[in-house]
Amino acid sequence: MAVLERAYKPYVGPLSPQWSRFLIIPRDALRDVFRSKIFTGLFLFSFVWPLVCAILIYLHHNVAALTGLQIPLRDLVSIDATFFRLWIVVPQGYLGFFLAMLVGPSQVSRDLTNNALPLVLSRPFSRTEYVAGKMSIVIILLSAITWAPGLILFLLQSYLEGWSWFSQNIPIASAIFIGSLVWILLLALMTQTISAWVRWRLASRAVLLGVFFIPSIFSVVVNEIFRTQWGYLFDLQALIWNIWSGLFGQFVGQQTVIDTMGAEQIDPLASAPPLWASWLVMFLICAACLGLLSRKVKAYEVVK
């Protein structure tokens, strides 16, 4: 209908594919978050460190530059699994945490506070699509600063080092991708869950910080009391650290000691819980987040 006709007319045109509709949410939200100069600045700052890493990789393969800068090659960090884990995945992951903390907490709470969910869910748009749309805001942003630059650096190193290095180290690429993705999914789920339950943005940011840092203290207390390392299963940072180590093939689980009889025994004080335990706890945390989200993401809550 033409604007000036001002009469009710049905829509008879084509419809967008159902699978693509959840992307409307991140498209809109990203436009919104990039209006903030602070956020845009922090987002751009997140690319500085990968750029430094790219320069390091380049210097490794440019003898003339090293000579010019008077840096001996042995003083440069070697480009291997440890480099990609400790120099790229870990720092970018932590930066991602702060970005998620800025973006995530307002996403669901904004809709809940203003009763927008009935408007959204009365359309051919399911709760799953809504949650997927909201999570994809964090997933898209964090992908851009974690595994995407990580894989670009991996390809840069492969290009400079040659095909043989690439074929020998392909597990590093999958570790960068899967490790970052696990971290991103965890952050996306946690931020959306906290956003759904704590509607005040500042409080939800504080809760997110608390969820990541308070269990670290708790885990240390548990370890001290029970003289074990299993307390680290309560610590999200330790969990993701173990998972990253496992993916990069650098996980050291059981530590052994030589007892008075000269036999080798497992040292409970130094041995980390097995890797599967970290994956299991991570899975349980994600499932709990999904459960909590599904309780809140409803058109109307029924008060029983």
Binding site: A7, A116, L119, S122, P124, F125
Partner: protein
Amino acid sequence: MPDTAASIKVSPTTNAEPPVIDLQGLSVTFGGRPILRELNGQLRGRAIGLLGPNGAGKTTLIHTLLGFHAPSAGTASIFGRDIRGDANQIKGLVGYMPERDAFIAKMSCVHFVRYLAELSGLPPAAALERAHEALFFVGLGEARYRNLDTFSLGMKQLAKLAQAIVHGPKLIFLDEPTNGLDPPARTRMIKMIREIRDSGEANIVLSSHLLRDVEECCEEIVILKDGRLVTYCNLEEERRANKKFLMLETRGDLKPFVSAVNELDCEYALTGDHRVKLILQEQTEVRDIYRLAAQTNVQIRRLSYKRDSLEDIFLKAMENGEVSEARP
């Protein structure tokens, strides 16, 4: 209050098309407490009014039809599509204007309406075009770039109506659309609802406490009480039928007048010295009565249609609480 299911054939099913809403023993329970109890009936009107006191289950019925609550027993269908199995299809056919404030903060009005149109499946360009059109239609054309947070209550109601119609639904659920509106704004809202109804492009389900709103907009009404469907009334039929009952206040000799009326096969009753009650036959018009009065030298001082007002029907339903079908 009977414990048996409320079962009303609310409209003749002569039409081959599926009914707008078909309730098939629909029950909803929250925490063990029945909110809707075995609702049955077929609704086919262009504008259906949902009436009932607070807590009668009007909003719960709308929410259940929209798929927000799962039925505990029975089911319902909208345009022949089952609310349990075809929820997504149904949502593509309906628009919903909720009772409470509902918007997305920090969004301009046109952005808000466009966003929701896109979630309904409209491509971005079409969604933007229709958002502008819907906002002009509801009278927010000049304010469409303003932030929703700055809107008055009346403007928010109009924005909610715009988002409900932007994707051109076949059925529009309006939950208390005139809530909090001042008289001019209410009149505008009622006018728009009637325009949508008269366009013939969409059916309307209007839930309201305000009998006048329902009376002005709806052809059919359903009255709920304690989660039961207690009364169905086809207002259109009743209006037509009630026009046949006339109350006359006259001056002059009534004998020749009533005998002339009798010759037209109209029943009459003298209710006072100068008062006559008439039941007109189908072929008889009011002007025939005036003609007879002129011929028999009777002055008609007052002529009124006797009809049950919606208020009468509503109060009767509340008093009886029995399942009934209002008839003229």
